[in-house]
């Protein structure tokens, strides 16, 4: 090889190795070994025992798997509309000149930079069934006071509420950026054509926002299926498994029940589900996402 070629190769290594080495060591190697572990029975201590695809077939027929996926789906179904409607609402409110706008934007965004564990603890206290702020307010209004994280029927809604509260500001910022990218003359043209505010919103603003909406939906569903921190802190998956989610199950299988093989298999099933859902959305975007 020519001297020039060798020198070029040297530069390629120089620029790529600093990222390639850690990515291989801490992502690629674990990825491959995870696939390997998922084909074995293993409690992290005694030697692995090859079981082929048994972990997968067992998981797919296990009612516990169905439950954790159902809970994760319920979480997504509750969380997504809440953050989307809330975040869009806040963005619409702030998309106009008004005094104190910078302050309000900063306030809405504060929970986004707060860590999940803190948010979960704060909301666990706010939603404390006996002495929490929320139930005291509900009591003062004469409304029923749910048992929140102590009640199997209310544990997931409690987690959903806390999660939506944290992520509202994130969605708001994305939607605000989308709103500001809408050319004013399009809205102006609709107005001169006699479209009312309501019509302009549904017929012009919302369709032109669809790229931002698409981004929010894709990201929220990916994050939603990976929900863990707030569930672990607020409910620990309980009461009696009523709020156990997929990642919580992966954690428990590995570190509580010593079933690392099944845990790895479950993590691959989760990955496949996320990939599938994302792929479906990317394919489906042609029908409703309008890029200007």
């Amino acid at each position: 090889m020519s001297r020039r070629g060798w020198r070029n190769r040297g530069w390629v290594l120089f620029f790529l190795l600093p990222s390639a080495i850690p990515l291989v060591l801490f992502t690629a190697v674990p990825m491959v070994s995870s696939a390997w572990v998922s084909l074995n029975r293993w409690n992290l201590i005694s030697p692995m025992q090859w079981v082929g695809v048994d972990n997968y077939t067992h998981l797919l027929s296990d009612p516990a798997t169905r439950d954790v996926f159902a809970h994760t789906l319920v979480y997504c179904a509750g969380y997504l509309p809440l953050v989307f409607a809330g975040g869009l609402g806040l963005a619409l409110l702030l998309n106009q000149r008004m005094p104190g706008r910078a302050f309000f934007r900063a306030a809405y965004f504060l929970p986004v930079v707060t860590s999940w564990v803190v948010v979960a603890l704060v909301w666990k206290w706010l939603l404390n069934p006996s002495s929490g702020l929320v139930n005291s307010l509900l009591g003062a209004l004469g409304a029923p006071q749910p048992g929140w994280w102590t009640d199997p029927a209310w544990a997931l809604p409690a987690v959903i509420l806390a999660s939506a509260w944290k992520d509202l500001g994130f969605v708001m910022v994305i939607m605000l950026a989308g709103l500001q990218a809408i050319p004013q003359d399009v809205l102006e043209a609709a107005r001169t054509d006699g479209a009312g505010a309501w019509q302009r919103f549904w017929r012009v603003t919302l369709p032109l926002l669809s790229p931002s909406t698409f981004f929010v939906v894709v990201i929220s569903l990916i994050n939603g299926f990976q929900v863990f921190d707030q569930v672990y802190v607020m409910t620990g998956g309980g009461p009696s498994g009523s709020s156990q989610v997929v990642v919580g199950q992966i954690y428990d299988l590995t570190f509580r029940y010593g079933r690392a093989g099944e845990a790895s298999a479950l993590s691959w099933i989760l990955f496949a589900v996320i990939l599938l859902i994302t792929a479906v959305q990317v394919r489906g975007q042609r029908r409703w996402v309008h890029y200007a």
Binding site: W11, P18, F26, V37, F104, V113, W125, Q226, V247, F255
Partner: protein
């Protein structure tokens, strides 16, 4: 007189701010309320405010050290990701080599694998390397991020090539072009990557939970979560811990607010 519309808009904005801020205010109030008076339900005016919960917190956990851990680990992983990411971005955008598409595809593939898939084998890897419960293990998974590489490569690709061609004619090598021309021009993208890297590390919970045992190596989310186990009902202590963990990030946020929000908005725009 302001119109009804203006008034209702204001009411909505203020209500929104109340919903977002009251939990924080409530956290502070709880943390200075004497433990005994918490059970009676909320009061707005704290009778006999006390810092006892903070003292108890500092007795239970090495909180200063834990906060420092969180800060320097987040700072270090941000720095690492900026360096490794921008170098790779330059490599992919400006160097020609065989198999580039394949290598870049492999980078992207690592982007799609969630932490949950990696956590078990990564834990075992750390155990085999005898690194579990060390700072190195905490930092290892965030030295390089494919997301950063991807975002920065887009930024480098969008720079006009005439710039580096002119520099090459002037005798500048890759290293000079990279440091003096490319890096200053991709600053907005670097800021976005920095925001995500810092927040990602600062908030990270699952990985520290798996790999760290010693209290003096913990980060804030992990330390806080152990507090809950020890003091199931001591909400004043748990809230004191929450205040303790919110304060540093709130300061960072107030200083860099504009960049943080712009950085996040930047990712949503095609």
């Amino acid at each position: 007189m302001p119109s009804l519309r203006t008034v209702s808009r204001w009411a909505a904005v203020v209500l929104g701010a109340a919903i977002m801020l009251v939990p924080f205010v409530w956290t502070v109030i709880t943390s200075i309320t004497p433990n005994g008076s918490l059970a009676g339900g909320p009061t707005l005016v704290v009778k006999d405010p006390t810092l006892a919960a903070y003292r108890e917190l500092l007795d239970a956990l090495p909180m200063w050290r834990i906060a420092l851990n969180s800060l320097w680990i987040a700072a270090a992983s941000t720095l690492f990701q900026l360096v490794t990411g921008s170098m790779a971005a330059y490599g992919f955008a400006r160097l020609a080599f065989r198999g580039k598409g394949l290598v870049f595809g492999l980078y992207l593939a690592t982007l799609m694998v969630p932490m949950q898939v990696l956590v078990v084998p990564l834990f075992i890897e750390m155990k085999t390397l005898n690194l579990q419960d060390t700072y190195l293990s905490l930092l290892a998974p965030s030295i390089a991020s494919a997301f950063g590489v991807f975002l920065l490569r887009q930024a480098v690709e969008s720079l006009p090539r005439d710039l580096d061609e002119a520099a090459t004619i002037d005798g500048a090598g890759h290293l000079r072009i990279f440091t003096t021309i490319v890096l200053p021009l991709i600053r907005p993208a670097l800021a976005t990557v920095a925001v995500f890297a810092f927040m990602g590390s600062w908030n990270s919970f699952l990985w520290p939970l798996v790999v760290i045992r010693s209290p003096e190596l913990m980060t804030l989310p992990l330390g806080l979560s152990t507090l809950q186990g020890q003091f199931t009902t001591d909400w004043d202590v748990v809230m004191a811990g929450s205040v303790f963990s919110i304060l540093p990030i709130a300061v960072v946020y107030l200083v860099a607010q504009r960049h943080i929000i712009a950085g996040i908005a930047h990712t949503g725009i095609k």
